[in-house]
Symmetry: C2
């Protein structure tokens, strides 16, 4: 039988892909660039690639699938993507847990913006063609036609270059795209393609990008990648050091290599997202606005601003005010005259990503104080942890050097949140060790939430004392090279057939990290004259923050003890904030207002910091009610 081709529609991501009838739905997902979790290589064993048929026909259930699902699940349409092949066009739903971690995160950061009021708008206009009686210049002609809608507009020089050809190729029917009152794009009126905006969150480790329909607010496409600057250092300081030690890079007229790499990598993401659209008329020229957020160093590296001064005391940014940069000056592959918006930074280590993160988290409380939630803290945990506290319409912020331990660095068996990483640990009253790994793969290391859990459980199971010293209370506690350590996974149970161990040094790393965060929290609370229990809400944002067990974080004293229901893990709030600023000018004003109103506290300079930090290194008294 000849192979047919069917269209498979992947929900809720909204991608379509053509597949042959001899290709599995796992193939379909891969073709569409959707990373489904698959640990067994598609042979039906790992049962990770679960999807649900919404519409259409698939090949019959295989034995592996019958084994993987309950009768109810089968009735609901659940299938294993690696086993099922299409027999018709089909609509498939991918549950979040079947997506590999980065994609899962991005999806969860999604949020709708209610008040659509983008900085960029377009108008369709018909222009009278020139004649011997009407010798106006093309630009004057366009100006006159737009006079009733947008009088006396500023025209970007690059746009004036294309007006003659666009007008003549479109029989003088064009769409004029304005950024406020500046003409930034001219396109033929037909075909009437979407008008897109780009929102980007540049993390030290990961980059998330979204293409948003500026006229509907819908996320049209999204993509993520590792930050390619990792090749020049895992953390911000080592990347800055790299540039300090490479003056040739600083002098490069094309920008330093870290700048060029992040731009290249964003251009690749843009290409990927456009390719998904599968609409030939939808090109990079249709992307007419962009909002890019990141910590101050990422912001500077993206904008081609120097970062050397961020690496030496007193760590001042080159620029903290909001920037609008023509896309062509950055080499960003969108409409050349689009103005890329970079929201303000607050300080050397509190960047525009934190400002963006405040928009969906603290700002609603700030804007509507009548709701009675007056004391709200938002925290974005990472290599640098930024914390803001809203109290009596004042926002105080600080940045804690929490280090890369939660990213898996400096932990002996640490790893990033990838398949096989231990993300949950439990020690039962019977001292049995229960583990959960990402994608339920055999354990190969411990990620941030796993090490947090492990230490909290060890402390509560009396394997550690409040100073972080090992107590010889468990068969898995042992002495290796004269140091005590805890065997979390024996070699025979691990994915790499290597033991996974937690050392005194690992515990110490986490103590330093959580101590820095807690000291920051305490100092902000102290500045506001509040106790932890006065907090009406504690919002935890970011990739790591979204996956930790908040109770574990409280048990080791990283977070203060407040009722769990007041804690909210909100995912990629910075990305959400970036999208809000893309879709509504008002949020850009809000960002500037917030950045200006925020009182920044430099912890390294704070009289109480050393004291709070050393107190916070220890684990708090056990409160078994938690």
């Amino acid at each position: 039988m000849a192979s047919h081709t069917f269209t498979v529609h992947l929900q809720p991501i909204g991608r379509r892909v053509q597949v042959r009838s001899d290709q599995s739905l796992l193939d379909a997902a891969q073709l569409a660039g959707v990373e489904l979790t698959s640990l067994c290589g598609g042979v039906g064993v790992c049962e990770a690639c679960r999807i649900r048929l919404v519409k259409g026909q698939l090949t019959p259930l295989t034995a592996d699938e019958s084994h993987a699902f309950s009768a109810t699940q089968i009735q609901q349409g659940f299938r294993l993507a690696c086993q099922a092949r299409p027999l018709s066009d089909a609509v498939i739903e991918i549950p979040p847990e079947s997506l590999s971690t980065p994609q899962r995160l991005q999806l969860e950061g999604l949020q709708k913006v209610e008040d659509l009021d983008p900085a960029v708008r377009r108008y369709f206009v018909e222009i009278p063609p020139p004649s011997i009686e009407d010798l106006r210049a093309d630009l004057t002609r366009l100006r006159d036609a737009l006079e009733p809608i947008c009088p006396n507009f500023e025209c970007d020089y690059k746009v004036s270059q294309k007006i003659p050809s666009v007008c003549r190729s479109s029989q003088w029917k064009v769409q004029a795209v304005f950024h406020n009152s500046r003409l930034i794009q001219v396109l033929p009126a037909y075909p009437k393609t979407k008008l897109l905006g780009l929102a980007v969150d540049i993390g030290t480790t990961k980059v998330a990008a979204y293409l948003v329909d500026l006229e509907t607010g819908e996320v049209f496409a999204q993509a993520g990648s590792m930050n390619p600057q990792i090749a020049f250092g895992e953390d911000v300081i080592s990347r800055i050091s790299y540039l300090i030690n490479h003056p040739d890079q600083r002098a490069n007229p094309e920008g330093n290599v870290l700048h060029r790499r992040i731009i290249e990598s964003l251009n690749t993401l843009i290409e990927q997202m456009l390719a998904e659209a599968n609409e030939p008329s939808l090109t990079n020229e249709a992307i007419v606005d962009a909002v890019v957020v990141g910590n101050t160093a990422m912001h500077h590296l993206f904008a081609g601003l120097p970062v050397e001064q961020l690496g030496v005391s007193p760590y001042v940014p080159a620029v903290s005010e909001p920037l609008y940069i023509p896309a062509r000056d950055l080499g960003l592959f969108i409409a050349p005259s689009a103005l890329v918006y970079l929201p303000p930074n607050i300080a050397g280590y509190v960047g525009s990503d934190h400002v963006a993160m405040l928009l969906p988290t603290i700002y609603p409380y700030y804007a509507a104080p009548s709701q009675g939630l007056s004391n709200v803290m938002a925290i974005d945990i990472g290599t640098n942890t930024e914390i803001s506290l809203l109290h009596r319409r004042e926002i105080v912020s600080c940045s804690c050097a929490s280090g890369p331990a939660f990213e898996g660095a400096h932990i002996q068996y640490g790893m990033r949140a990838a398949p096989g990483a231990i993300e949950r640990v439990q020690i039962t009253p019977e001292k049995k060790i229960l583990l959960k790994t990402i994608a339920d793969q055999e354990p190969v290391g411990i990620c941030g939430s796993g090490i947090l859990d492990a230490i909290a459980e060890m402390y509560f199971a009396d394997l550690l004392d409040s100073k972080g010293m090992f107590l010889n209370n468990h068969p898995n506690i042992r002495i290796q090279n004269r140091r005590m350590e805890f065997l979390l996974v024996p070699a025979e149970q691990s994915g790499h057939h290597q033991e996974i161990v937690i050392t005194r040094r690992d515990v110490n790393e986490i103590q330093l990290a959580k101590g820095a965060i807690r000291a920051g929290i305490n100092i902000l609370l102290g500045e506001a004259g509040l106790r932890a229990e006065d907090l009406d809400a504690l919002i935890i944002a970011g990739a790591f923050g979204s996956y930790i067990d908040v109770r574990s974080a409280m048990r080791i004293g990283m977070l203060p003890p407040i009722p769990l229901e007041r804690c909210h893990q909100v995912g990629n709030a910075a990305g959400t904030g970036a999208k809000q600023m893309l879709l509504s000018k008002r949020y850009r004003q809000v960002a500037s207002e917030l950045a200006q109103r925020i009182r920044y506290i430099e912890l390294s300079n704070h009289p109480k910091f050393a004291d709070e930090f050393s107190k916070s290194l220890f684990f708090p008294p056990k409160d078994l009610s938690n």
Copy 2:
């Protein structure tokens, strides 16, 4: 004897150059990039390289020099540059006639601007360095320091990139350069270099560039070159055709080859002019403003605007309004954030060079009508001849397709105004033919002013009738290939040992050219209801216009018969206008005002044009009083 090195200062150009004692002053001029006329290769025979010693000592007079100069001249210090060598540091004056033609032209276009008020200004400011108590961003810090002088300025993005390093390398003492209220450059406060502006006149054939000190108004350096676009066509239409026929060039993201060539060639001129300065601290970063003028096609090609629509009826420009283009967008090698100003165009064939030319010519009469000179015509003769008429504070303009005959094209022995070109012709009552060539070299061809003279003289000597037909009235009139022609130079007298002849076809070409110009003049006069004798002033600008014999031009009817004292040949008025706009913002406003107020008349569409043109083809009745 070991050779010494002396400094030779060349006046009035103001260039200095180091020469060895065994090098001649001709070598010195060549080293300094000053093109002295030298026809004999420096052996003392042509006597063209005359200079005058102002100060210092030179080697004794040679026999050739004693022969070349009168006793008075010798006393005045005249020498032949090829013969004299320095015996000390020396100051040398170069008389205009010793400069080769292009340089002569540029010098003559010079003019001082009285009211200095440039768009660009700089302020020196000391900034408090950051400290742990003062964590403001570098840009904020600069803003605050400049608050009393220039509050709330706009900061060009590229400038913000260099603020941190400039501040730190200069111990926080900087100069901030503003274009109006936009920060376009930051430099260390010391060394306090000159602040320069670039004025450029891009002609279809030649390019003239000036570096002007924005704070004193002095022309700091100047340079000229051929327009490299000539490789793609001698006239505007053939260059446009080239681009119409090469769509790949139009699609090139770096701009088409004509755009790139003119930019490259300007960058070479800039480098040349800076190299002359011989001040290491004076770099392209000190050039912070630029004014570029040209006809509409040159304007468009320079700006990277499309020109295809200029090549087809109704010949509309892409842009006629004034433009400010960041230098980096053009690839112009001056301060990257400098805003290159392009004054407005009036129509497809009346460009910003004509607007610039009006500033030193018609505008003074326009601005001060009380002086009683109310009817003033300005004319810039070239491949396209632009004419403006001021009457009752109204300016009417038109463009005549006079063709390239005056540039030497389409004339059998035509050539550009270069050494050896016949530039003056006289036929004595005894029918003797007297010639003058440029640089007094043996004749090799006829340039525009020469052919104009020749035809006027032939007409007045009854060798031509009023229709341009040859009359057999002179021994040099002969029949060749059944056509009559006039032998101007026999082979034995010519530089190339070839006859130089004027044919019926040459006469016809000049009739077409002068007919087009006169038709334009007449139509403008008619629009204003004036007769030629009502003109209070007739201003003739441009390279060709500055060298013609106005009487000859009147005799053949190219110019209307008015008293010679009302005619003014003013040299490169467009270049002067460009310098005025560089040195005074007010002139930019004036340019916009003039461009808007000008009533443009499209001759090809004018009901009287065909009639006026055919009438103007003939020569007017001879008035021997002229």
